[in-house]
């Protein structure tokens, strides 16, 4: 799926293979280039080697949490947008994510529409920012 029509590169981080697959397939169908990682460490490795427009990360993961990843990405790759996926049981987590620097959060379980609408919105905002020349430049 690495054709010219690709709309952007997205990294998905989740310890649940099912969730990873679900998001990946939906985004690929929507013509995004997708890479997946099942832990924060794995994600950091991928981030070192490749530029991502967007990182979608789960909140609860073993060893290091999504919040750690958000802080890392915000600090190291300011050009990468972040969506945090949270369970409904931890809305406080969503608030925490936004405060740590995530652009958006998505509550689980979500429909494909909810996911795609949110992702599209992030890319639209990035395009707008690039067009007007304001905001964080993509490194």
């Amino acid at each position: 799926m690495h054709d010219a029509a690709q709309r952007g590169t997205i990294l998905i981080v989740d310890d649940s293979p099912d969730t990873l697959e679900l998001i990946r397939r939906n985004l690929e169908l929507a013509r995004y280039a997708v890479l997946t990682a099942s832990s924060v460490n794995e994600a950091k490795g991928l981030l070192e080697h490749q530029k991502f427009d967007l990182c979608i990360t789960d909140y609860h993961m073993p060893f290091a949490s999504g919040i750690d990843l958000i802080r890392f990405v915000r600090g190291t790759y300011p050009g990468t947008a972040i969506i945090m996926i949270t369970g409904y049981a931890s809305v406080e987590g969503a608030v925490e994510a936004i405060k740590a620097g995530a652009e958006e959060y998505l509550s689980k379980p979500f429909t494909d529409d909810e996911l795609l609408t949110l992702v599209d919105k992030i890319f639209e905002q990035r395009r707008d920012r690039k067009d007007t020349g304001t905001g964080t430049p993509v490194s």
Binding site: G87, Y88, A89
Partner: protein
């Protein structure tokens, strides 16, 4: 006639004294007793008129018996008899009543007046306020006169008076004889008064005792207590057969069984925690002699005040108990809610993951090209079911206050109108008429507008569903001091008390499966509680329901939300 007594003065005295003392125990009314005593005396004395003037309760009465017509007896209150006479100056004119008063107040030089021997223009000697002796003429037309003090111990209770126009009707011996009879009347009178006071005190104590006993009966409702109290109070009064009692408390009225329109009323306030909440009223339906306060005694006013105080204490205690038990119930309920909340949180964790899989992969399959139509329809059902399940979990989370509130200035009226706007198609479809009574001065409150909206939508949807076919939906807002109220009223099917008791219980629903989650009102309750408010429900089967939400205008900021 005087000779008749002289022969057997001793036996006459014994028999008269015995008769006077014997009938002292008869009759409850003083008039009945003195009629008897006067008859006995006039029979013995055979003079034209005998009268006794006594203090009764707070007034003086004169009871008169004349021989002229058989059985002529009357009594009348004598105003001013109890006022000490002043002497001198004295204009020289005297009447029998003045002489009686002087004897009553111990001014007679001989401790009484005895005009026996046949003399022209008799006089009596009185001690004046100047310390000197004054001679007063006996009123003309009275030839013979005995005025003797009725005493008991040091207290003068009244006077006994015997009159005759003819001079020389009484002898000095007669004077002694009736002085002793007056002393006997004094003893009898004191005995009757003691008995009377004892009887009244026993009635009062019985009343207080019974009220206290009613109060200690913890199983008794306030209604039953006040009804019983009304029955207990009336008999404690001086004229129980004419007395009735009415207790008014919080605009409810409790009357004793026999309640008549009142001619005389004695009342005492019922004050609970210093606030007047009602009154106790004792009334007589008939005209009765005037005592301290109408036909009431000072003791009775004190009694009524004591009863009112006791009842107030009992009511205060009962209300405190009721409040405590309501609070305990509320705590219990809150406890249950917390449990449900924890359960919901745990459940959400466990279910969201697989639910996400069901929803997500079903939607992925939907994106497979060239799916048979049946498969598409089936998938659609799976997706819808998954979304419904997700909604239930979200409501549960909301209900268990896992959703943080985002409080800001909220205009209640604006919320009402926007909710009606949103639900307008649904309301119209149900053939429902909408009436709004919005308080234009309702203050802006600090609340989560989205959650207030949720309250309104839930209540209005319920109301609409309760009204098939059609009806009137009334939304009201109002404010009172620190709180605002919002009520949603329908003219629908209403609820039985059993249903009404359970509507806030999570998952309780009267609707068909799929029509409601049984969480709508639980969510409303959760939100209202989170806002520090109250919700009240009134409902009558077949008539409709009214939900009234009361919210504080300003809430204390939630810790951790505003300062996080």
């Amino acid at each position: 006639m005087p000779s008749r007594r002289k022969k057997s003065a001793n036996s006459d005295f014994r028999s008269l004294a015995t008769d006077i003392l014997r009938c002292a125990d008869q009759g409850t009314l003083i008039g009945d007793y003195l009629r008897e005593v006067l008859s006995l005396i006039i029979e013995t004395a055979a003079c034209p008129q005998v009268r006794i003037t006594v203090a009764d309760l707070t007034r003086h009465y004169r009871f008169t018996r004349t021989a002229a017509i058989t059985g002529n007896f009357h009594f009348a209150p004598i105003a001013g008899f109890g006022d000490a006479p002043f002497l001198p100056p004295f204009d020289g004119v005297s009447d029998v009543e003045l002489l009686e008063r002087l004897v009553y107040f111990g001014r007679a030089a001989d401790d009484g007046i005895v005009i026996g021997a046949s003399i022209d223009s008799p006089t009596v000697t009185m001690r004046g306020d100047d310390g000197r002796q004054h001679r007063l003429a006996v009123p003309s037309g009275i030839g013979s006169l005995l005025i003797l003090p009725i005493r008991y111990g040091d207290e003068t209770l009244g006077v006994l008076t015997l009159l005759a126009e003819r001079p020389g009707f009484f002898t000095d011996a007669d004077g002694d004889f009736y002085r002793n009879i007056a002393a006997v009347i004094g003893i009898a009178r004191a005995h009757r008064q003691a008995k009377f006071h004892l009887r009244e005190r026993i009635k009062e104590l019985t009343c207080i005792y019974r009220i206290t006993k009613l109060g200690s009966d913890t199983g008794r409702s306030l209604d039953s207590l006040l009804r019983e109290a009304a029955e207990v109070i009336a008999p404690a009064f001086l004229f129980p057969e004419a007395a009735s009692c009415r207790i008014v408390f919080d605009r409810r009225t409790y009357t004793s069984l026999r309640y008549n329109t009142a001619k005389h009323i004695l009342t005492s306030d019922l004050r609970i925690n210093g606030r007047p909440r009602g009154l106790i009223e004792v009334s007589y339906s008939t005209d009765l002699p005037t005592l301290d306060k109408g036909p009431f005694l000072n003791e009775e006013r004190s009694l009524l005040e004591a009863v009112a105080k006791e009842l107030s204490v009992i009511i205060q205690r009962k209300e405190a108990e009721e409040e405590k038990s309501a609070l305990q119930n509320q705590l219990l309920h809150a406890d249950r809610l917390v449990t449900v909340g924890q359960l919901a949180t745990g459940m959400a964790h466990e279910i969201n993951e697989p639910l996400g899989g069901i929803l997500g992969f079903a939607q992925l399959i939907q994106k497979t090209p060239d799916l048979p139509e049946q498969v598409m329809r089936d998938l659609d059902k799976i997706v819808k079911a998954a979304i419904h399940t997700r909604d239930i979990i979200r409501k549960l989370m909301l209900f268990s206050r896992q959703m943080p509130t985002q409080k800001s200035a909220t205009d209640l009226n604006e919320r009402v109108l926007s909710c009606l706007d949103l639900l307008e198609p649904r309301i119209r479809k149900g053939g429902i008429r909408v009436a709004t009574e919005l308080d234009p001065a309702v203050p802006v409150i600090v609340a989560d507008p989205a959650q207030i909206h949720q309250i309104l939508v839930n209540l209005v949807v319920n109301a609409v569903q309760a009204m098939t076919p059609g009806g009137t939906l009334t939304l009201r807002t109002s404010h009172d001091g620190e709180r605002v109220s919002l009520s949603v009223e329908d003219t629908g099917c209403g609820m039985t008390p059993e249903t009404k008791d359970r509507i806030f219980v999570p998952f309780f629903t009267t609707k068909d499966i799929g029509e409601g989650t049984g969480l709508g009102l639980s969510v409303v309750l959760g939100i209202v509680t989170a806002h520090g408010g109250d919700i009240a429900v009134e409902s009558e089967p077949g008539r409709g329901s009214r939900f009234t939400v009361t919210l504080p205008i300003a809430v204390a900021p939630d810790k951790g939300e505003d300062h996080a």
